[in-house]
């Protein structure tokens, strides 16, 4: 598998380390159901074949965290984004909707 790092270009997966699901969002400590939310955040996963948004780290490269959308049934990589950019957009949305 090769991942097209937005900074470094395409590299073999030996340069990256996989972290996991990128669709979960860290809950708010002050939520009344914080414990249940954190349990879901830390442990529960959809894990269904097909496109999967997931975090990878360019460990042997530029140290960028990436959001990779990858079909986990075929290993086809559909998109690669900087996690920071995705997170900033997520935060902006959260603010916008707040």
């Amino acid at each position: 598998m090769r991942i097209n790092c937005p900074c470094c270009g395409e590299r073999g997966i030996d340069e990256f380390s996989y972290y996991g699901d990128a669709t979960v969002t860290r809950p708010d400590l002050t939520s009344p159901t914080a414990m249940a939310e954190f349990v879901a955040y830390a442990f529960e996963r959809a894990n269904i074949p097909g496109p999967h948004r997931e975090l990878w780290y360019h460990a042997a490269g530029c140290h960028l965290w990436l959001v990779v959308t990858r079909n986990i049934a075929t290993h086809e990589i559909l998109s690669v984004e900087s996690a920071r950019d995705v997170a900033l957009a997520r935060n902006a949305n959260a603010k916008g909707s707040a």
Partner: protein
């Protein structure tokens, strides 16, 4: 009427008439409208579960439904090791029960699964690792499980061909479970299937589950590619597909499906006796009764349903192999394969009840461990029918 019991006598008898008297090892059953218990997944755990259930509850109507052919999942894709040398309290009794079942398995199911207790030796390479293994070994002893902590000399005597001279991480010793070993993995599935079948279990192949049917929060049956099948209880035993099947029942599991590659070499004359695991790299190895070196190492490390891995892990495992046993350099890797299995932190089987009220619906997840197949079936049987 096909030949019944397997034995050297029946084999000799059949040899004289060209083996024409053997019948199917198990019936290729057609689905009936309803069963008391339906097990989804015809792998090691599912078949063992059906067998132990059928053996104990003779009147129960039981079926195993399998989307492809039985034994095609993890039970047919692992590296054949059986052991109970785990550390954490919950695991040892589970796998030790399995070990005990393995030990009497062949007579119990009348099938030679070639359980071979040639020992599992986990090497350690530092004082810290030694202490961790001592802790594990003591834990095993407290559970009544055999194990020995060997020092470097004892290891050298046992496996003199390891790299003791030029190692980057020298071998300091090992934890040995003599009762650990290997089993012919396919035969586990076939043996349980045949034994379950002889107890009246319907094994329904090429039957894919597409949905669950619930009434009042109780499961009443499953929709399949071969029609609706009513069920008093349903067990899920589908390894890496657990999330997918559980999702049909509206459940989310603490699991990702990861791929683990395994490897076998060309057949060579006896080369290594028991199972050896490298404590400073991702490599473990044994030799099959056919002569192939069977080895594996680390997960590929990403979520996957593809049942195949990539090159970095192949290389990583072979690097571990060469570091530990530099005499395997000219032995050729013949075949690699991947299996996907559920992965939880700690990588252990998960037995859980459905969160819906009443817990009338059971599911279980079978992970990578062949070791747990026998006890998984047993434990599941217990949890299934004692409530």
């Amino acid at each position: 009427m096909p030949v019944g019991d397997y034995s050297i006598f029946s084999v000799m008898k059949e040899a004289l008439r060209g083996h024409t008297g053997w019948g199917p090892a198990w019936r290729d059953a057609e689905p009936k409208p309803a069963y008391d218990i339906v097990i989804i997944g015809g792998g090691g755990h599912g078949l063992a579960t059906a067998y132990y259930l059928a053996k104990e509850y003779k009147a129960a109507r039981i079926a195993v439904v399998e989307k492809g052919w039985i034994g095609g999942g993890n039970v047919g894709r692992n590296t054949t090791i059986v052991r109970s040398n785990y550390m954490l309290p919950g695991n040892i009794p589970f796998y030790e029960l399995s070990m005990k079942l393995w030990e009497g398995l062949e007579q119990d199911i009348n099938y030679n699964a070639m359980v071979s207790q040639r020992g599992v030796l986990n090497l350690y390479h530092s004082d810290g690792q030694r202490d961790a293994f001592a802790r594990r070994g003591n834990s095993m002893r407290l559970h009544g499980v055999d194990c020995e902590l060997l020092d470097a000399d004892a290891v050298r005597k046992m496996v003199p061909f390891l790299d003791f001279e030029n190692a980057r991480f020298p071998v300091h010793g090992g934890l040995l479970q003599r009762r650990g070993g290997t089993v012919r993995h396919d035969a586990v599935a076939w043996g349980y299937a045949r034994a379950a079948d002889r107890h009246g279990v319907d094994i329904i192949q090429n039957c894919e589950v597409t949905a669950f049917r619930f009434e009042n929060d109780h499961v009443v049956g499953i929709e399949t590619s071969r029609g609706y099948i009513g069920a008093g209880k349903v067990g899920i035993s589908v390894a890496g597909n657990s999330s997918r099947v559980a999702a049909m029942a509206g459940m989310k599991l603490p699991i990702e499906s990861h791929v683990l590659q395994a490897f076998v070499t060309e057949s060579i004359k006896p080369f290594i006796d028991g199972v050896v695991t490298f404590g400073a790299g991702h490599f473990y190895i044994s030799q099959s009764d056919k002569g192939g070196l069977v080895f594996g190492g680390d997960l590929d490390g990403y979520n996957s349903y593809a049942q195949r891995g990539n090159m970095p892990v192949v290389e990583d495992v072979c690097e571990g192999g060469m570091a530990l046993m530099p005499r395997i350099g000219r032995v050729r890797l013949l075949r690699s394969w991947g299996r996907h299995h559920g992965y939880v932190d700690g990588r252990q089987p998960v037995h859980r009840s459905h969160p819906h009220q009443g817990s009338l619906f059971q599911w279980r997840v079978v992970l990578r461990r062949l070791q747990g197949d026998a006890s998984g079936g047993h434990v599941f049987r217990a949890s299934d029918c004692t409530r």
